[in-house]
């Protein structure tokens, strides 16, 4: 069974970027254009890796992270961000509440995206 990746980002260019990067990688990739929709998808299906934007209309990335962790899934979540100052503080609070996540900085190219996904989903193979 193919590993399931979910990209939650309100920007279509970003969602498309992930889709194209993973085209032949052998993963099932799904996208959601808001936090709410992303949470629904996680509730409906098993997800192995989530890429999450911070700045989104509706509920933002930090709130989405909080609700996803409330669902009690241990799924790895990568927050893809350009380090907006206003969200960093909230993110800091999330760390203090014990919510686990990783951060990668935006923009990010296809090679790095693949490298990251492989190391999370298949262990640190080929990751130096």
């Amino acid at each position: 069974m193919r590993k399931q990746i979910l990209v939650i980002d309100d920007d279509e260019a970003v969602r498309k970027s992930f889709m194209l990067a993973f085209e032949d990688a052998g993963y099932a990739v799904d996208t959601a254009e808001s936090g709410e929709k992303g949470i629904e998808k996680v509730q409906d299906n098993k997800v192995d890796l989530i890429f999450l934007d911070l700045k989104m209309p509706g509920i933002n990335g930090v709130e989405t992270l909080r609700r996803l962790r409330e669902l009690d899934t241990g799924v790895p979540i990568y927050i893809v961000t350009a380090f907006h100052k206003e969200f960093l503080d909230k993110l800091g609070a999330a760390v203090e509440d014990g919510l686990s996540f990783e951060i990668i900085s935006k923009p990010i190219g296809a090679d790095k995206i693949n490298l990251l996904a492989r190391s999370v989903l298949e262990g640190p193979v080929g990751f130096q």
Binding site: D11, V14, K16, A82, F83, H84, P107, G109, A110, I113
Partner: protein, 663 residues
């Protein structure tokens, strides 16, 4: 009269005759005085004690030269006895410095003056004697004539060998004598031994506001305020014991309780060998006291002026008076000052020569300017000086008043103020600059953030296309270019973001070695290095520095990659980095053998968006970001460059400064 100006004495034509008795217990004094005086034509006798002298005096002398201290009786005693016996004679006291006080006291008992032992000025001594003898004879003649006039007992008199007619005094003249008492402005009172008033003129009654009829028989001291009463009674006692005149400053009290400042002069009245009472003359001194008080007040004001050196000078500049501050500022004594000309105290320039100042005062009544003052020890200080000619109602002497103020402090304050003002202006410029930068930072951050997502799109889309294009396809390298240029855009945006939030980030501080950071940077840049010779050296004992390591790494990265850029078209390709301790700082210098920076650009290289790199190769942010990071650490970054030789950047980082609030 104790002493007279010698020039005045010359005008006295004294007869070179007269009888003199010298009283002294020392033989040598007699010998000396005789030798000095006999050539003058006097007949001179000697006594060696007071008692003997008194006996001899009965035989009639013109002058008694009297020693103040003698074994049998002192000079004062002799004087008292002379007055008591109404012996008509002038007395000069012989005194040394030791008995000066008694000699002065003797003047109150009728001595004419004193002669100092040893005698230093013979001419003066002779003059004094001549004068005393002359006055003795004159007074004796005057008194004889006056007695004859008043008593009417003689119609002619023989005085000094000459016969004088005595006019008859008519009855009405006696009344006029009595009226005389009333026209003199002083109050006159006659007192008996106990101090009761036996006679007074009407001015007396007016002065104490009493009716004349109530005045007679009252006690004199009852018109004096209580505090002064004892002083007056004591003075009167001295009169009864032989003193000839007393002068007392006292206050009268009037019937209505007001006070009057007066001088009471009193003398004993002897008549027919007996002490009969006292005559007291009272002068109102209120006005004099007021004027004197005012003068003293003004003199005090001038002398104690705190900020003004005050000089009174003649038009030729001669100093006539000056105050304390003037003397102390110039380190001259009062007498030194009075011998100086004002021109010696100030450096008068060509345009401020003293003559010109005087001319200016003639025209405009005052002159004001700044001069350099020179004190006695040669120190110079700046003064502001005002010279004016006061309106003088008393006489027309053309004195001038100079007020000078030491303005050294004021000048210093002015300079300090100007400096502070300049600094304020500079810092204002800096503030405006940083305000601008911060406003721009916010704008840049906003734009950069918005660009992140589309950038990510372009990057990934071009990578996708590249992946699906055969390397043989001629579009392949173009797609590679797209990818590369997109990466550049991303770098620019990252730099902009870093720049805009440089002082807002609370990055973690840690202790780190600059050398470690440098090595990491060189590793990161290894893809670019090859032909260049990069050397670095760290001095022994260079400590670690509290730093935000990512920031410092960024700085080193910028500086080393700039150096690499500078070496691109150079033959000599060398970079040398030196790290060492400099006091409380660690210093890192990064030098290259590049083409250097044009002098006009050295000032600008830290300005945001300033770049000399070809279009598309630099953002112009590297150095301004670097400077912001270093400043954030409390450090400093400077640049020295010599066109054609190379450029050296110097970074100073404080060793122990932890950013406030750093976690």
């Amino acid at each position: 009269m104790a002493k007279m100006d010698s020039s005045e004495m010359e005008t006295v034509i004294a007869p070179k005759a007269g009888r003199i008795l010298i009283v002294d217990d020392e033989e040598i004094v007699h010998l000396t005085l005789k030798r000095l005086l006999e050539p003058e034509g006097y007949s001179i006798d000697s006594s060696f004690g007071g008692q003997e002298a008194l006996q001899r005096l009965e035989t009639g002398y013109d002058l008694l030269v009297l020693d103040i201290r003698m074994p049998d009786m002192d000079g004062i005693e002799v004087l008292r006895e002379i007055r008591k016996r109404e012996i008509d004679i002038e007395v000069l006291i012989l005194t040394g410095y030791a008995t000066m006080e008694s000699a002065t006291q003797a003047l109150n008992y009728g001595a004419r003056g004193y002669l100092m032992k040893p005698i230093e000025n013979i001419a003066e001594f002779r003059n004094r004697v001549r004068e005393a003898v002359y006055i003795a004879r004159l007074a004796r003649g005057n008194r004889q004539f006056y007695d004859a006039l008043v008593s009417g007992k003689a119609d002619s008199l023989l005085i000094d060998g000459k016969v004088y007619q005595v006019p008859t005094l008519r009855q009405e003249n006696k009344e006029i004598f009595q009226r005389l008492m009333e026209v003199i402005p002083q109050a006159v009172g006659l007192l008996d031994f106990d101090g009761n008033i036996t006679f007074a003129n009407v001015n007396f009654a007016r002065m104490v506001c009493q009716s004349y009829q109530d005045l007679l028989g009252t006690r004199f001291e009852s018109y004096i305020i209580e505090e002064d009463q004892n002083k007056v009674i004591e003075a009167f006692t001295r009169l009864s014991s032989g003193q000839l005149v007393v002068s007392i400053a006292a206050q009268l009290k009037t019937r209505f309780g007001s006070f009057l400042s007066v001088i009471i002069s009193a003398s004993p009245i002897h008549y027919r060998m007996e002490y009969r009472g006292i005559v007291a003359v009272i002068s109102d001194t209120t006005e004099i006291n007021t004027v004197r008080g005012k003068v003293e007040l003004l003199a005090n004001l001038v002398e104690n002026a705190q900020y003004d050196m005050i000089f009174i000078v003649k038009p030729d500049g001669q100093i006539m008076e000056c105050n304390f501050l003037a003397r102390s500022s110039f380190s001259y004594s009062q007498s030194e000052m009075l011998s100086l000309n004002i021109r010696a105290l100030f450096k008068f320039g060509v345009d401020e020569r003293w003559e010109k100042i005087v001319d200016a005062i003639e025209q405009f009544s005052r002159w004001r300017g700044e001069l350099i003052a020179i004190s006695q020890d040669g120190t110079e200080f700046p003064v502001e000086i005002t010279v004016s000619r006061p309106a003088n109602k008393v006489d027309n002497s053309a004195t001038m008043i100079c007020f000078a103020q030491d303005i050294a402090e004021r000048k210093q304050a002015q300079e300090a103020l100007q400096k502070a003002y300049r600094e304020l202006q500079e810092s204002q410029v800096q503030l405006i600059q940083s305000e601008k930068m911060s406003a721009m930072g916010i704008l840049v951050a906003g734009v950069a953030h918005e660009m992140n997502n589309p950038m990510m799109g372009i990057l990934n889309f071009s990578q996708y296309c590249l992946k699906h294009t055969s390397e043989d396809d001629r579009r392949h390298p173009v797609l590679q270019d797209i990818q590369q240029e997109t990466q550049r855009c991303i770098d620019i945006v990252q730099n902009l973001l870093k720049f805009s939030r440089i002082d807002r980030e609370d990055e973690a501080y840690q202790k780190e070695s600059c050398t470690v950071i440098l090595e990491r940077v060189l590793k990161l840049l290894s893809y670019r290095t090859g032909k260049q010779s990069i050397t670095y050296h760290t001095a022994d004992g260079t400590p670690e520095v509290w730093m935000e390591a990512n920031g410092i790494q960024q700085v080193f990265l910028n500086l080393v990659s700039n150096a690499l850029d500078a070496l691109e078209r150079r033959e000599k390709k060398e970079i040398h980095v030196d790290i060492c301790r400099d006091g409380e700082f660690v210093q890192a210098t990064i030098g290259d053998t590049g083409g250097g920076i044009a002098p006009e650009n050295v000032q600008k290289i830290f300005d945001p968006f300033f770049t000399t790199k070809p279009a598309g190769q630099g953002t112009g942010l590297g150095l301004s970001v670097s400077r912001a990071i270093i400043k954030g650490h409390g450090g400093e970054i400077t640049c020295e460059s010599e066109p054609g030789i190379g450029t050296k950047f110097r970074v100073l980082l404080p060793i122990n400064r932890r950013k406030e609030g750093a976690k």
